[in-house]
Symmetry: C2
Amino acid sequence: MCASALSKLRHVMFAVFLGLVAIGASLAGAQAQSDPLSSWTDGATKKSITDFVARVTTQGGADFVPAEQRIATFDNDGTLWTEQPYYFQLAFAFDRVKAMAPQHPEWKTKQPFKALLDKDMKALGASGEKGLLQIVAATHTGMTTEVFAKEVLDWMATARHPRFNRPYNSLVFQPMLELLAYLRANGFKTFIVSGGGIEFMRPWVEKAYGIPPEQVVGSSGVVKFELMKLAKVEFIDDGPGKPVGINRFIGRRPIFAFGNSDGDLQMLQWTTAGPGARFAGIVHHTDAEREYAYDRQSKIGKLDKALDEGKTKGWTVVDMKRDWKKVFAFEP
Amino acid sequence: MCASALSKLRHVMFAVFLGLVAIGASLAGAQAQSDPLSSWTDGATKKSITDFVARVTTQGGADFVPAEQRIATFDNDGTLWTEQPYYFQLAFAFDRVKAMAPQHPEWKTKQPFKALLDKDMKALGASGEKGLLQIVAATHTGMTTEVFAKEVLDWMATARHPRFNRPYNSLVFQPMLELLAYLRANGFKTFIVSGGGIEFMRPWVEKAYGIPPEQVVGSSGVVKFELMKLAKVEFIDDGPGKPVGINRFIGRRPIFAFGNSDGDLQMLQWTTAGPGARFAGIVHHTDAEREYAYDRQSKIGKLDKALDEGKTKGWTVVDMKRDWKKVFAFEP
């Protein structure tokens, strides 16, 4: 075949290809209509999400946002997975202390390690924040980031949640998995912005949430060139630290953010303070039966100011019991 | 049409669609064979790039790397754009001092500002690193990140490079633009890892390089919740800081990295120290006619240790004069 005929054939084939891509896209759209958010109860909460996505993705609409600006940020603990009876990263730290104890005979007499090994929760509580930091330092520092990542994955594969008796990473919220996938199918780029440790999350979040490590913003310890984790806090990605972390890592303001506690308030404020269409969501834990019920009085994931502000400002407050047909994928 | 017939039609159409996607992909491949790296001279340098990409993208090959792990990092100054006669961010700072001078009458008598305004380069040089930091502090802090971004864009639209008399962002290297696009077409995710200021780069790199702000790692000042830039250095993303920055922002080791100076040495070392196929590239500025020629003795972009190590270890050292048919897009 002569070159020009080949070139012409290519052009024709390419036009056919583009036409079929369009058909394929509309078929995909038809499939999507089989409800990408099937674990969400039909109602105002779900509608606030689908309405927002329709507004910012409608070409030529007043609120249209180009795909590269569709940044969506999610808190992790309590928003994407359970955070009770205490943060799972803490459960990891406690389990690491137990596993490391044979190499640390001095812990038998040294607080807060003694209390933890003796399961003396009263003494452990008495060691306070200082004790907690000692436990985190002992279990989270002094190794390379690669060794630490392996420890996290090994723990995730073997440890079990005390109430559900399942791996911790199976306690991710099914409706939120659907929401993440739905946003990505609509051109959003999804990020985690969590007060949890960045090195604790990165090894497993890609598999759990489809969010790659480079889209995780979290708190961090100081790391040196050899990528040795040092016992010095570098950045606390919580409260006012969340917009700072988003600015540092992402470099643009999200148009969509989801949290569940007062630690997410500034992220939600900053997200909604930008121009154009904005979405702020709060997971309100109202379901003691399927998960947990807590808010203003809780030590973990206290939701007080953000709940009031969310109601005043018309943010989407998810009532877990009412709005989610299914909380976890493993439910019957 | 009954539902099951419709469903069947959808399945058939979808199969056709998938088939045509495959044809489209191979056509795209055929188009790519019209040379995505056309500004690169045919030879060993170019071949080292295409060979590497072929190795890591060949399904079933010994060196195959899944797309999500195809992380490629690029230094910016001197690697993606020119850095002579001095870093462009410095030119920005100098121009800002001139623009801000009417609001700062005290600068008429205060060094290093006086020297800069008097164009007294000797006195400016005498003010040393301390003077430089004063200029950076005066021009880069005390405003919000959004105001600063606008200042950068305004400057980029009006300022001209002293030798080429063109906007600074037109002094991006055409062969590197082709390389970035080629890598992305092969499933790589491209990042900038630069000693330059992260807030200085983010406003313009997406348009210039197709790299979104969230894929830029750079040095940063401290930023508070109101996203006010404070006069305190937070992170220097240079030398040993580059692997630290990559770990913090990206969270995985690149398999492909490109630099041009000793400040990139640790990034190249860390990239190549991982298992499997690895690519390290160095831009050697050897073309005084079309751009600049400098290496071991240069104050800007000194290339000495990395040049020796690159030659010893078989890294790809780009000889600009020999390997690039075209340096800038505006060349005839």
